[in-house]
């Protein structure tokens, strides 16, 4: 199915994943199943039914504006593949266009095959 292949490509772009042909094929089949389920739901007649985004309709609880202890820096950094001092290190985003970023060329893609473990900081 060409259409589903295009959707997979587009989603991969949105989530910054580089997929090989094999991975794309697997994901296309899975996604097709998911979309199929959604299509079946869409067949139901929902006229006169209010959209329900949440199953609860209770008013949410609020928390008081009090500062609680954060995680220790050690805990925050526990699973970080790459760091520099107390900062997370990520591929260059300079000039790239996240909605809050400075805008520019697209950020580098993080390769899907790259396991976090492979990118552990070298010398330790």
């Amino acid at each position: 199915m060409k259409e589903i292949a295009q959707i997979v490509d587009y989603l991969a772009l949105l989530v910054r994943l580089e997929l090989d042909e094999e991975q794309k094929k697997v994901l296309a089949a899975q996604l097709d199943n998911i979309l199929d389920a959604a299509r079946r739901v869409q067949e139901l007649d929902t006229s006169g039914v209010e959209p329900t985004a949440h199953v609860v309709s209770s008013r949410g609880t609020l928390r008081e504006d009090e500062v609680k202890p954060s995680l220790s820096l050690e805990e925050v950094m526990q699973n970080v593949p790459l760091k520099e001092g107390s900062l997370f290190r990520v591929p260059s985003m300079s000039g790239s266009g996240g909605p809050n970023g400075p805008g520019g060329p697209a950020p580098e893609q993080i390769h899907a095959s790259e396991e976090a473990g492979d990118r552990q900081e070298g010398k330790g």
Partner: protein
């Protein structure tokens, strides 16, 4: 042909809560990177956000101050995008159902008051901060991320496109900042990033359909907003006047070169795939609570300005300065309860009080207005001279002292005692023989000159009347005086 600019603003500002919007991490500025993070704001699996009551309260207060309708039912949505400044890969925001809609803010223009309409006000969380390592920004080979800012509550205010110039945009932002200061919901410091502003601008001929919109970003001060929009309006007018077409795009303000720069080709179409945030229930706001908050709003700047003009019969320019912060306005009003000359008082507050505040760093809110009133009273009663009054005021305000006590402690009162003035005056006469001679030849003006010398010798503390009398007396009885 004269084109009309159609400008809409999108303002993001940080709400000044102690903790983040959905977790208890501190919002303090300048902490060690990533030391104010927890499972919620890092988006670790299994964590759940809970809305901060103060953030909601501040959002509602701001919305009310902007004359908006607070929605009884609103909702949080996920704005999905993959970028390292978002630990969760989505930002919790409000998309379809914002917390408030449909308000306005009035700005003062030379031609009268203009109402800038507000389309919506919504809450969202701040993203983390990206730092670019390596040489120049474009060449760095990796980036660094600090998530301390991730999860700080933001308010987004979107205006209708009914702003017509860069100047109007700046005035709107200045008035908005003042309003939010008064409501005590944000520090609105653009330099520190607690207020950001993006703009949409298009041009059209009067009565014609709207032109293509350009989004302008990266404006880092109110002045920059004004310059960038004026530049952009001119750029578009030039293109249109030679029958060119405006490209619908995002442009960045380049502060150094004072131009807007296209990001064409470098931008991907955004597709945020918004959907309702399943981890937060719908936001239900009770009308009675809104009413309570409305009644508790302080007097807002526009109202205060009008009242100051009427109640104290002050010039609008003076009023603008006096109401530039709630603390300063309060200081003036407290002092005014004990002073009759309101304009004189305004001059003291605009001049000396602000100077003392700037020089000493002492907060206006920590200064005693009564000290100013008493200093003015000492001056009006002739107990101290004006230069002395300024000195006394500084000491009284900065050190929290009683002005009369300062005068006494430092011996700053008027000198009228002939025993003290006599020798001083004799010295002045000896040092200024020409003026003495001139007076003796019948020139009254010379007397004024000599009085001035005596005053200067006592740094303005001598009593002019006493100096006059003693001076005349001594001149009458000068040895060797020719009749």
């Amino acid at each position: 042909m004269d084109y009309e600019a159609v400008i809409g603003l999108e303002v993001h500002l940080e709400l000044k809560t102690r903790s983040k919007i959905f977790c208890g991490c501190s919002t303090a500025f300048g902490m060690e990177p990533n030391s104010s993070c927890c499972p919620v704001c890092l988006g670790l699996p299994g964590s759940l956000p809970v809305l901060n009551r103060s953030a909601l309260e501040m959002a509602v207060k701001a919305a009310l101050a902007l004359n908006c309708r607070v929605e009884g039912r609103s909702r949080f949505d996920r704005k999905n995008y993959f970028y390292p400044d978002l630990p969760k890969a989505y930002q919790i925001s409000q998309y379809e159902l914002p917390v408030a809609r449909g308000g306005y803010l009035e700005i003062d223009l030379p031609g009268g008051i203009k109402r800038v309409n507000i389309e919506r006000v919504h809450m969202e969380e701040e993203a983390g901060k990206l730092l670019h390592a390596g040489g120049s920004i474009m060449e760095s080979d990796y980036s660094l991320v600090d998530y301390n800012r991730a999860g700080i509550p933001l308010l987004e205010i979107v205006t209708a496109p009914n702003i017509s110039s860069g100047k109007e945009a700046r005035l709107f932002l200045e008035e908005l900042r003042l309003l939010l200061f008064y409501c005590d919901v944000s520090d609105c410091r653009m330099e520190e990033g607690s207020l950001r502003c993006d703009a949409n601008i298009s041009l059209n001929l009067p009565g014609a359909a709207m032109g293509n919109k350009v989004e302008v970003k990266n404006m880092n001060s109110f002045r920059a907003v004004e310059y960038a929009l004026d530049y952009e309006a001119q750029r578009q007018a030039e293109i249109l006047s030679r029958a060119g077409e405006i490209v619908q795009e995002t442009r960045h303000w380049d502060e150094e070169n004072r131009v807007t720069v296209s990001l064409r080709g470098k931008e991907e179409a955004s597709d945020y795939r918004y959907f309702p945030e399943p981890d937060l229930p719908p936001l239900l706001i009770e009308e009675s609570w809104v009413q309570e908050l409305k009644e508790a709003l302080p007097e807002l700047p526009a109202h205060k300005r009008l009242r100051f003009e009427e109640q104290y019969r002050l010039d609008p320019k003076d009023v603008a300065v006096l109401t530039s912060s709630p603390e300063l306005a309060c200081f003036y009003e407290e002092a005014a309860r004990h002073v009759e000359d309101y304009t004189g008082l305004a001059n003291w507050v605009k001049g000396d009080v602000l100077r003392i505040h700037n020089d000493s760093g002492k907060a206006i809110g920590e200064m005693t207005p009564l000290a100013l009133a008493e200093t003015i009273s000492l001056l009006e009663r002739g107990e101290i001279s004006r230069p002395v009054a300024r000195e006394v005021l500084e000491e009284a305000l900065v050190r929290g002292k009683n002005p009369a006590q300062v005068v006494q402690d430092r011996g700053l009162g008027r000198i009228a005692d002939p025993g003290t003035l006599g020798p001083l005056i004799e010295k002045v006469l000896q040092e200024n023989p020409k003026a003495v001679e001139s007076y003796l030849q019948g020139r009254e003006k010379a007397l004024g000159f000599l009085v001035g010398k005596v005053m200067a010798a006592t740094r303005g503390r001598s009593d002019p009347a006493a100096v006059n009398t003693i001076l005349r007396d001594k001149l009458q009885n000068l040895p060797g005086k020719v009749e």
